[in-house]
């Protein structure tokens, strides 16, 4: 998947860094942080010899050995709990849960332990663990393998929640997450692993809690999370042909949530649409809409549009799955509606 392309003739590698996949950006972040800090280690199912179910940990076992790249049994609650305990002792575990779906098995450890140990023990310990996991749907994996659980984790005080959409953010946010002293739920998207783009160097971190504008526009603000950023951008390109200019905002982290960037945008465009891959009820889109209403009520010229997955378990049939997932056309419809068209 990540075959390295030869540098273009005449191109200087130093000036023109080759584009890197989202997957490789994550690998780089882990490798660099492991080199920088001996307390950082990687643990999860098939992360070592197999190099990760999605090959995100490629090369790490070879470079760092079994002490720091730990293949686990299929025991999500067990190894997530182990990582939390190790973090309480001062290590910096980077846990890979094969997909977000399996994190449900470890929910007690994440919600009752990782999110709570600092607070309920009066600040005596920190819990610097990163729990990485890809989520999302689109590969006909049906009801149990297609979750987007951003809302579940964002709900919990004590956790930080990150959902990078680009290789640059994947690398920069993961490095920030690893250096952070709190538990960070790092939500990757299966659909983005092959996506290529520029990435930062060893010391270029992307801070948690800062949104990014992906596209400038004056007609409608579209706030989109994770892979939905790309869906929103595709919709924006279509809408531009109709003369509608969308401003696309990527929150990048959901907790902490930067509301200044989207609010500032909405106060200019006076219209907003929120886009998420998860379910609509109590979803991150519902939260974003509520926060925009609280901060921008007097500036809004139309109700906030919400685009989400359909309110059903994910079906298997390809046509149904497509119908259940937010598409660029759905975003376009929501934007037009916000504009009264």
């Amino acid at each position: 998947m990540t075959t390295e392309s030869a540098p273009a003739p005449g191109a200087s590698a130093a000036e023109e860094p080759r584009p890197v996949s989202y997957r490789e950006a994550l690998t780089q972040a882990m490798r660099e942080e492991m080199e920088r800090d001996p307390d950082v280690f990687v643990i999860g199912e098939d992360v070592g010899q197999y190099e990760g179910a999605f090959k995100v940990t490629r090369g790490l076992l070879r470079e760092f050995g079994e002490r720091r790249v730990v293949d686990t049994p299929i025991s999500e609650a067990g190894f997530v709990g182990l990582a939390i305990g190790a973090a309480m002792a001062g290590l910096r575990p980077v846990v890979e849960i094969m997909t977000v779906n399996f994190s449900i098995v470890a929910m007690d450890q994440i919600v009752n332990n990782a999110a709570k140990v600092r607070y309920m023990f009066g600040g005596q310990v920190a819990c610097p663990v990163v729990i990485r996991m890809p989520g999302g749907a689109g590969h006909q994996l049906a009801a149990q393998h297609s979750h987007s659980l951003e809302a579940w984790y964002t709900h919990v005080p004590g956790l930080k929640v990150v959902a990078p959409a680009t290789p640059l953010d994947a690398k920069g946010l993961l490095k920030s997450a690893i250096r952070d002293d709190d538990p960070v739920i790092f939500l990757e998207s299966e659909g983005l692993y092959a996506k290529k783009g520029p990435v930062g160097g060893e010391d270029e971190l992307v801070p948690l809690g800062r949104a990014a504008a992906r596209r400038a526009g004056s007609d409608c603000t579209v706030v989109a999370v994770g892979r939905m950023v790309w869906i929103a951008l595709a919709a924006a390109e279509e809408l531009a042909k109709e003369g509608i200019e969308c401003e696309v905002i990527d929150p990048r982290s959901l907790r902490p949530l930067d509301m200044d960037t989207p609010a500032e945008s909405v106060k200019r465009t006076n219209r907003a649409v929120v886009v998420e891959e998860g379910w609509p009820e109590c979803g991150v889109g519902a939260n974003l809409a509520a926060r925009i209403y609280e901060q921008c009520f007097d500036w809004l010229d139309a109700p906030i549009g919400r685009v989400s997955a359909a309110d059903v378990p994910m079906p298997y049939a390809k046509n149904l799955e497509r119908a259940a997932l937010p598409q660029a056309a759905d975003v376009a419809v929501a934007v037009r509606r916000a504009l009264g068209r």
Partner: protein, 345 residues
């Protein structure tokens, strides 16, 4: 002084000093629990209050067998663990009272004591949930190539949670220095062990993981001490985890809100006839380690400490409301003291 006499390494045959410490700590826990029950009835303690009366030998014997730097985790019935690790009774009682001087600043309460300075990594409220944390603490010891031992303390109820099997498997697979200490008090809340476990000899679970295990008399502090000492040695020197089952009995109901009407009086009497404090005192008196006078002096000292603890707790200030959100994050992004995620309008 040989190496084994070092205070960081418990001697195989406890000397008089250690035996007396065990006795006094057991008395301290018993009296602390009785006082906590009184304060609960007076309304000074809220939430759940789980008492360990009857389980003192298992708590003290196991902790005495570890070094003070060996990390331990426990359940929500853990006042004794904190006291045995040396937490100030006043700070523990203040935590139960929900005061700012509590070991956790009033944020944890009875079920969530921690004293990280003393390597007591806390009491947890979800049955079985703390066990993998202890494995992680053992993992950290091993990762740093130190020679500590982590002990997971849990009850017979936790044995049927899947995460225990996951934890024991990982500890055995990776040869982590962990002692799985199950304090079998024969009841998971109100359900007797033979109604919850297909095999009531809980230590046999270890065989599935090729892990050494032992079943001990949890009412006998010396038996518990010796068993855990050997398990800790195995962990330290051979990198081999163990399971220790200490059979004991809690005299009270599951918590203060449990009227304890289902357990037979005859059963309680049978266990109380072997009360760990009474039997150990008899042993110490017989050996001459303890005299009637010195036993009385210990009781008096404990009484004063408990009295002082309750006074300290009741006179301690409440937790300032401005600190509501103080410890949610180690690296907070907001200085909003109410912890509200919603920005002010």
């Amino acid at each position: 002084m040989t190496e084994t006499d070092s205070p960081l390494s418990p001697p195989e045959r406890p000397d008089a000093e250690l035996m007396l410490w065990m006795f006094e700590t057991m008395v301290l826990i018993r009296r602390f629990e009785e006082r906590a029950a009184e304060e609960y009835m007076k309304g000074n303690i809220g939430g759940f209050l789980h008492l360990a009366i009857g389980e003192e030998a298992a708590v003290v014997g196991s902790i005495a067998a570890l070094r003070p730097t060996d990390p331990i985790t426990s359940t929500y019935r853990e006042h004794g663990q904190a006291l045995a690790r040396g937490s100030e009774p006043g700070a523990v009682m203040a935590e139960l009272f929900g005061r700012s001087t509590g070991v956790c600043g009033g944020l944890g309460g009875s079920m969530h004591l921690m004293d990280a300075e003393r390597h007591f990594y806390g009491g947890y409220g979800i049955v079985g949930g703390s066990i993998p944390l202890a494995v992680g603490l053992g993992f950290a010891v091993s990762y740093r190539e130190e020679d500590g031992v982590a002990m997971a303390m849990f009850g017979d109820g936790a044995v049927n949670q899947g995460v225990l099997a996951e934890s024991m498997n990982m500890a055995a697979l990776w040869e982590l220095p962990v002692v799985f200490f199950v304090l079998n008090n024969h009841y998971g809340m109100g359900t007797a062990i033979d109604r919850a476990s297909a095999e009531t000899d809980l230590f046999k679970r270890a065989e599935a993981f090729g892990m050494p295990a032992e079943q001990l008399d949890g009412m006998n502090v010396m038996a518990v001490y010796r068993g855990v000492l050997e398990a800790a040695r195995r962990a330290r020197e051979e990198g081999q985890p163990s399971m220790i089952e200490a059979r004991a009995y809690r005299y009270r109901g599951h918590s203060m809100s449990d009227p304890d009407t289902t357990r037979a009086g005859e059963e309680k009497e049978r266990w109380q006839a072997r009360d760990p404090l009474v039997t150990f005192e008899r042993v110490l008196l017989g050996e001459g380690t303890l005299t009637a006078e010195s036993a009385e002096a210990i009781r008096r000292r404990v009484e004063e400490r408990i009295e002082e603890a309750a006074r300290f707790a009741s006179q301690s200030p409440e937790v300032p409301v401005e600190q509501l959100a103080r410890h949610v994050y180690a690296n907070p992004w907001s200085d909003d003291p109410t912890g509200s995620a919603v920005a002010p309008r």
